[in-house]
């Protein structure tokens, strides 16, 4: 689907920023006047900039002229923005989500072992012995660095008595 000559999906980033700024302003106006002076100023400016971003994404002369003037890099595809597969995207974001969840639930040391071993197994299924050695080595390194050298009491995880 196209809106003003541009596929609707291309408006998405600018629209998200616009909604974020609008939501921020809505929250800001619930604050006392003295507290909201700077946030409201920043909120309105960002909303204006996001509107400009949306306009620069439209097809036609206005959009192209705006894009050329304030965001010329947007006119060409950058190599880093080549499409990634859904599988790659899911594994990249999934790794972060798994790391954070595991850290909160299981704590520092089990997370180090599980995440590193799990990630290596995804990438190199056949080399499970090497993967296990790397994961064990990294866990030992983390324990030595944080528990022995820095003398920190490692977070045990919510499952083992840790608290937020």
């Amino acid at each position: 689907m196209k809106i003003l000559g541009t596929p609707a999906i291309r408006y998405l980033p600018a629209a998200i920023v616009w909604l974020f700024a609008a939501g921020f302003l809505a929250l800001t106006y619930q604050l006392p006047e003295a507290t909201r002076a700077t946030p409201s100023l920043v909120g309105w400016v960002t909303l204006g900039l996001a509107t400009l971003d949306i306009l620069s994404r439209t097809g036609g002369e206005l959009g192209a002229a705006l894009m050329r003037a304030v965001n010329p890099a947007g006119l060409k595809d950058r190599p880093e923005n080549q499409p990634v597969t859904h599988k790659d995207l899911a594994s990249g974001i999934g790794l972060i989500v798994a790391l954070v969840s595991s850290f909160v639930i299981l704590g520092v040391l089990p997370t180090t072992a599980i995440i590193i071993f799990g990630a290596l197994m995804i990438a190199y299924r056949a080399q499970w012995i090497t993967n296990a050695i790397i994961a064990a080595g990294a866990t030992l390194g983390v324990w030595l660095l944080f528990a022995v050298l820095l003398r920190l009491q490692l977070f045990p995880g919510l499952a083992f008595g840790g608290v937020l």
Binding site: P13, V17, F20, A21, F24, L27, L31, P32, A34, T35, A37, T38, P39, L41, V42, G43, V45, T46, L49, A50, D53, R68, A69, V70, N71, P72, A73, G74, R78, E80, N81, V84, S91, G92, I93, L95, I96, L99, V100, F103, V104, V108, T111, T112, I115, I116, A119, L120, A123, Y124, I134, A138, V142, L145, F146, L150, L152, F155, G162, L164
Partner: protein, 506 residues
């Protein structure tokens, strides 16, 4: 006048400081050599680990990293045609052809000595400019500091390679995030949604770890494969001859160092501009421009001198005004804050020993990193052969544990995770990440100075338009905002010539 210099030097003359300086250099060389890691990730990873160290040791460690990263980057650029960090891309243009001709040692030697000389000139400029900037910064009041912060943001957005609007938007979003928590002026709690952790605002260190180390590791994980091709059996000989090449071409090294010094002091412009500007100017003034791109040693010396000179001068806006000029400086600023130092006028007065200690550490790192790089040249080139899918989960896990270690708060890890995904998404959607960090750093100061300015003028905005320094800063902001449209217009009117576009590495 010399007392702070001597105190700073003496503060480094302890076994612990020297050991950590060397550790920093080693880490800087490794992270500099591996494309995708770089100095920012190294500092982000180190940041929480410095928590248990005293401030001088932490600065020695950071100085070691910052001084050694360019040398690590030049080794992979010369041997593998893969720049360790973006500024080293200019070194590939002549460094790799030299390596193909069997003169890799010559190029590495020249890079090492150019790095050292460039670094020395950069730190000398820092030593000269800091006392002057101290005088300048003490004449600033809240309105000037408010406009200076805005100028810093505009400069960083403008320098975001043709993405000014998106840079400004990222800056705006960063400022909004910086308003979370206690309002310093009225004491009201804002935008926390009942989460007690957010009362102190978005914690800077976990955010930095997520935005840089986390996001970069997601990219590295997705990229997969080996980070670079092998160095094969490239011969590394004639290193000592290379060391002297720099001094034979002293105008080139001097020009590169001066370019790096000037460019480094401008927030947001960064090492890529410094190195390519230095390279292009060297080609233009050369009597034999045709030889560049085919293995001219000056094509290695010019960018390398500029890259290291930039590091010293980039500390000027960071230390004197609290405005980090780039991602690496933003993370470094996080280290300063973590150790109780507040960059800006107060730091120039209260932390002189630490500042000069850092300058000495940086100077030592610039000189010694070359020697260390030459010593470990072969293992460093091998590091880049580690598969990214093995490296990414290890670095990411350690970085996130480091985020927790800052104040042993598990919420820090969640913040790092959120910012890692945000950083990756911004990178994919072509929004620069640096302005968001600069805003997070500057946000509290912006609000405080804005309130104080209005209090000084009984609520009148006229205060920003009636003081001389404010007028100069406003003129700079306006210039910064018109720079991208003007550049775009000029670019359309005149054809741009790029030196050896076909040889530029991806």
């Amino acid at each position: 006048m010399l007392t702070p210099w001597i105190d700073g030097f003496e503060s480094l003359l302890h076994v612990q400081q020297i050991v950590f300086l060397c550790l920093g250099m080693l880490m800087g060389l490794i992270f500099g050599a591996v494309p995708g890691l770089g100095g920012t990730t190294a500092l982000a990873l180190l940041l929480p680990l410095t928590y248990g160290l005293d401030s001088i040791t932490a600065l020695a460690l950071s100085g070691g990293v910052m001084g050694a990263v360019p040398m690590g980057g030049s080794i992979s650029a010369i041997l593998l045609n893969t720049p360790g960090s973006a500024p080293n891309a200019a070194t590939c243009l002549d460094g790799y052809p030299l390596a193909q001709q069997g003169k890799a040692g010559l190029a590495i030697g020249a890079a090492a000595s150019a790095n050292a000389v460039g670094g020395l000139i950069g730190t000398i400029s820092l030593l000269v400019v800091l006392p002057l900037s101290k005088m300048l910064v003490l004449s600033f009041g809240p309105p000037e500091f408010f406009l200076l912060s805005i100028l810093g943001l505009v400069m960083v957005a403008t320098a975001s390679r043709g993405k000014m609007l998106r840079g400004l938007i990222a800056g705006g979003v960063g400022l909004m995030l910086s308003f979370i928590g206690f309002d310093q002026v009225t004491g009201t709690v804002r935008y926390t949604f009942g989460i007690q952790y957010l009362w102190d605002g978005v914690h800077l260190v976990p955010a930095l770890i997520g935005l840089f180390a986390g996001a970069e590791m997601i990219k590295l994980w997705m990229k997969g494969g080996s980070i670079s091709g092998g160095a094969g059996h490239t011969k590394i000989t004639k290193i000592s001859a290379g060391l002297f090449e720099t001094f034979r071409h002293w105008p080139t090294v001097l020009r590169g160092s001066l370019i790096g010094t000037v460019v480094g002091a401008i927030p947001g412009v960064g090492g890529v501009v410094a190195s390519f500007l230095s390279y292009s100017l060297t080609v233009q003034v050369s009597k034999d421009p045709e030889s560049f791109g085919k293995g001219n040693i000056q094509g290695v010396i010019a960018p390398e001198a500029a890259i290291n000179a930039k590091d010293g001068s980039a500390l000027i806006p960071t230390i004197a005004f609290g405005i980090p000029g780039g991602a690496e400086m933003a993370v470094f600023l996080g280290i300063l804050v973590l150790h109780g130092m507040q960059p800006g006028p107060l730091m120039l007065i209260q932390n002189q020993t630490e500042i000069y200690g850092l300058i000495w550490a940086l100077t030592a790192a610039c000189v010694l990193a070359g020697a260390l790089g030459i010593l470990f040249v072969r293992p460093l080139s091998m590091v880049t052969l580690v598969p990214s899918k093995k490296l990414a989960p290890i670095v990411m896990t350690i970085a996130f544990i480091g985020s927790w270690a800052v104040d042993q708060t598990v919420e820090n890890v969640i913040v790092s995770g959120v910012f890692a995904i945000l950083g990756y998404t911004m990178s994919r959607l072509d929004y620069p990440r640096l302005p968001i960090v600069i805003s997070l750093v500057l946000g509290a100061g912006v609000e405080r100075n804005f309130h104080q300015s209005l209090a000084m003028s009984d609520g009148s905005w006229g205060i920003f338009f009636t003081r001389t320094i404010c007028m100069i800063l406003l003129a700079c902001i306006a210039t910064g905002l018109f720079l991208t449209p003007a550049r775009s217009l000029i670019g359309r009117l005149f054809t741009k010539q790029v030196a050896f576009p076909e040889r530029r590495p991806a």
